[in-house]
């Protein structure tokens, strides 16, 4: 357990985690699992990805997050390939998830149903 004893401690954690989260080598998959996502079956997709990525020997971290707000396209997930911008896919079912693994994660090939970041972020 890390007790944060000062703002400097906080910054240390921040830097460490950022390093870990955004290290260039890692594939990151975020499954959006808020109520809306879960109601549309995001849990199934999450389980599927964890299992299949391991089976297919792809080293990736799969995490659950809240929803992005794309209710019309739930379930959604985001894949960040090393060195690339995150890409969000919508209306993901198992078939699509398989497609995503095979085409995008393995080959960087997009599949239909990409939801580009349609917003600005604060930097």
């Amino acid at each position: 357990m890390k007790k944060v004893k000062s703002p400097a401690d906080l910054r240390k954690i921040k830097d460490e985690v950022r390093e870990r989260m955004y290290s260039k080598e890692k594939i990151r998959v975020r499954v959006h699992m808020g109520t809306s996502g879960l109601a549309s079956g995001a849990r199934e997709i999450y389980d599927f990805l964890r299992l299949e990525l391991e089976k297919r020997n792809i080293h990736a971290s799969v995490i659950s997050t809240g929803d992005m707000g794309y209710s019309h396209a739930e379930p959604t997930l985001e894949v960040t390939l090393p060195g690339k911008d995150p890409v969000v896919f919508g209306n993901v079912d198992k078939l699509k998830a398989d497609d995503i693994i095979e085409n995008y994660i393995k080959n960087g090939e997009y599949v239909d149903g990409i939801l580009p970041a349609n917003y600005r972020k604060i930097e």
């Binding site: 997050t65 707000g69 794309y70 090939e109 917003y119 600005r120």
Partner: protein, 596 residues
């Protein structure tokens, strides 16, 4: 990993209102095939880039080159120049007002309609992992406040930022904090109102589920500013996931010393507990919320005294909603002027809306204050479903009113919405199309209010019931023109005399539909017709003789024997027997039965 293949992304898709992109995609594929590239280069239909006024847009990877306002005819040039030769098609690149060309998506993103401040981390971080939150700036603002600022300095930044309460009323947040700060007491409370009760609104829930630490941190900052050491989150019990994530977040924050005693070694103590709502919309009103937190019926009481003077347990209490709190940390970190640079003169920052109803892209969006309804509905929202005609957008839920075609280009902010007879409310935005009967919509909202009225004051308890009854009467075709005046008078009196915000705003849906769609009301009471064809009692099923082949299918399916006619002769529906079940219309294969 394989070398990166070239790919073409085209915005739009089944939900996009701009049908050009479909033809464009087809043309691109044809062009690729013509050049035998269809196996090497993929054409992908993507969702909206948020650049609808530049659409359709085509993005080519690698390189992230963006072409704007691409027509189907441009397919050939894109393939022959860019794909085959690697030359950018200059004329399709975006040129900013100064004439400078921008080709990369990143450069264009400033033109995106949405700006995520509140939703900055939603979908980005694992809400159950505090370290990911910290990696995305969580608690940095708290650290800054605790080590570098005095309470009044924090309050000043919030005041200067122009942040107004996102719960509905739009009261300046900094001012609210200042009042709570000035009321000295041995004990004070910070309350987060997460009792999102608007039907069709789920902004707060998404934030709590996606970024709970943003709220905890902001509450602690508020606590420091008003000199409170205890925070309470009042949340709907119907949000089990949000509750679970909040609980996890609270315990992780305690573990990390970011809540509890001596936060970050600064000597400041602040802890947060959760209180549950139990399904009462009125508990969104702050005095009702406080009573509910005290274990009582959530009945509102007269203000003053305001919670800032006498709130939870009679102590000074500052109540803000989730979205308001979610704005706090960025304001502290980036400064008041950063925040106030976005928005309109009197409404700063962004607003999250839950788009729902007859709109293609149902979901959560966050736009700068001042964005127009047109941009929200037709660009971000992808327009009306099934290509139907836009009729109205209801904002502010049961407390709001509807905006119509004439409001499409009004910048959305607190004051404009109020002037248009609606209100910001918590951010539900329900879109209606030509098939929606506005009398029925008003009735729907009144039904909600009647159910949710606490019953304490007579205008809300009885008056809303009477409004609902009269609307029902009208939708049954029994109303008169005089009833419309009565609707109006009752509405004004209920607004004018009710005890709390619920009753003071509950007639808004009636008044605003009456104002904007009076002809529709009049049709109901004079010619007894529902123009949208929604009101069952005003419908009449009718057989178009020319289309009817006399197959007798309708007569056989009619449960009450209202349809007569000889085989192979046009049939006839007896309206006095017909119960308007619609079975005949479903059965008819010749489109011979219509509703009049």
């Amino acid at each position: 990993m394989a070398r990166e293949k070239m790919q073409i992304l085209i915005c739009g898709g089944t939900s996009c209102s701009d049908k050009q992109s479909e033809a464009l995609a087809d043309n691109l594929k044809l062009e690729l095939e013509a050049n035998a590239l269809e196996n090497d280069i993929k054409v992908v239909r993507s969702g909206c880039f948020g650049l609808c006024n530049l659409g359709p847009v085509v993005k080519i990877v690698p390189g992230d080159v963006m072409y704007v306002k691409v027509t189907p005819d441009d397919a050939r040039e894109i393939v022959s120049e860019h794909i085959m030769k690697g030359n950018k098609v200059e004329r399709l690149l975006y040129k900013d007002p100064s004439g400078k060309t921008k080709s990369a998506e990143k450069e264009l993103s400033v033109y995106k309609k949405q700006l995520r401040i509140v939703l900055r981390n939603c979908g980005i971080i694992d809400p159950e992992n505090i370290e990911e939150a910290i990696a995305h700036d969580a608690y940095e603002a708290l650290g800054k406040v605790l080590t570098e600022m005095k309470p009044l300095e924090v309050i000043k930044i919030i005041k200067d930022s122009g942040l107004r309460g996102r719960g509905g009323g739009g009261f300046p947040t900094g001012l609210k904090w200042e009042i709570a700060y000035k009321n000295k007491s041995d004990e004070k409370f910070v309350v987060c109102n997460a009792d999102e009760g608007d039907p069709g609104a789920f902004m707060d829930r998404s934030v709590l589920e996606g970024d709970p630490h943003a709220i905890l941190e902001a509450m602690a900052i508020c606590g420091y500013s008003i000199e409170a050491h205890k925070g309470l989150i009042y949340i709907r019990a119907e949000y089990p996931l949000a509750v679970a994530r909040l609980k996890t977040a609270i315990s992780q924050a305690r573990e990390y010393g970011l809540l509890g005693k001596d936060i970050m070694g600064t000597g400041f103590d602040f802890d947060i507990d959760i209180r549950y709502g139990a399904g009462a919309f009125v508990c969104g009103e702050e005095t009702a919320l406080i009573h509910s937190m005290e274990g009582m019926r959530g009945e509102p009481t007269v203000k003053p005294p305001f919670p800032a003077e006498s709130g939870f347990m009679g102590k000074p209490t500052n109540v803000n909603n989730v979205e308001t709190f979610a704005c706090i940390s960025p304001i502290i970190l980036k400064g008041a002027s950063w925040f106030s640079a976005t928005g309109t003169e009197k409404s700063k920052g962004t607003k999250v809306f839950a788009l729902a109803g007859k709109i293609n892209n149902v979901g959560l969006i966050e736009v700068p204050m001042g964005t127009t309804l047109r941009e929200v509905i037709f660009e971000i929202g992808g327009g009306i479903r099934k290509g139907k005609k836009f009729k109205a957008a209801q904002t502010g839920g049961p407390s709001g009113g509807c905006l119509t075609e004439k409001h499409l280009d009004t910048p959305i902010d607190f004051d404009n919405l109020t002037a248009a007879g609606s209100m910001m409310g918590s951010g539900g935005l329900i879109v209606m199309d030509e098939d929606d009967c506005m009398v029925s919509v008003a009735k729907f909202f009144l039904e909600f209010t009647v159910e949710e009225s606490c019953g304490k004051c007579s205008p809300c308890r009885i008056g809303n019931k009477r409004l609902h009854e009269l609307l029902e009467h009208i939708t049954k075709g029994k109303g008169t023109l005089a009833d419309l005046d009565r609707l109006k008078n009752m509405s004004y009196v209920i607004k004018d005399t009710s005890l709390c915000g619920l009753g003071q705003s509950s007639p808004n849906p009636v008044l605003s539909t009456l104002e904007n769609f009076r002809d529709e009301y009049e049709a109901h009471v004079t010619v007894k017709k529902c123009p949208a064809g929604k009101c069952k009692d005003l419908m009449e099923y009718f057989i178009i003789a020319a289309n009817c082949v006399g197959c007798t299918a309708c007569a056989r399916v009619c449960p009450v024997g209202a349809i007569t006619g000889e085989r192979k002769e046009p049939h006839f529906i007896n309206p006095s027997i017909c119960i308007k079940c619609g079975a005949c219309m479903e059965k008819c294969k010749f489109d011979a039965i219509i509703i009049q």
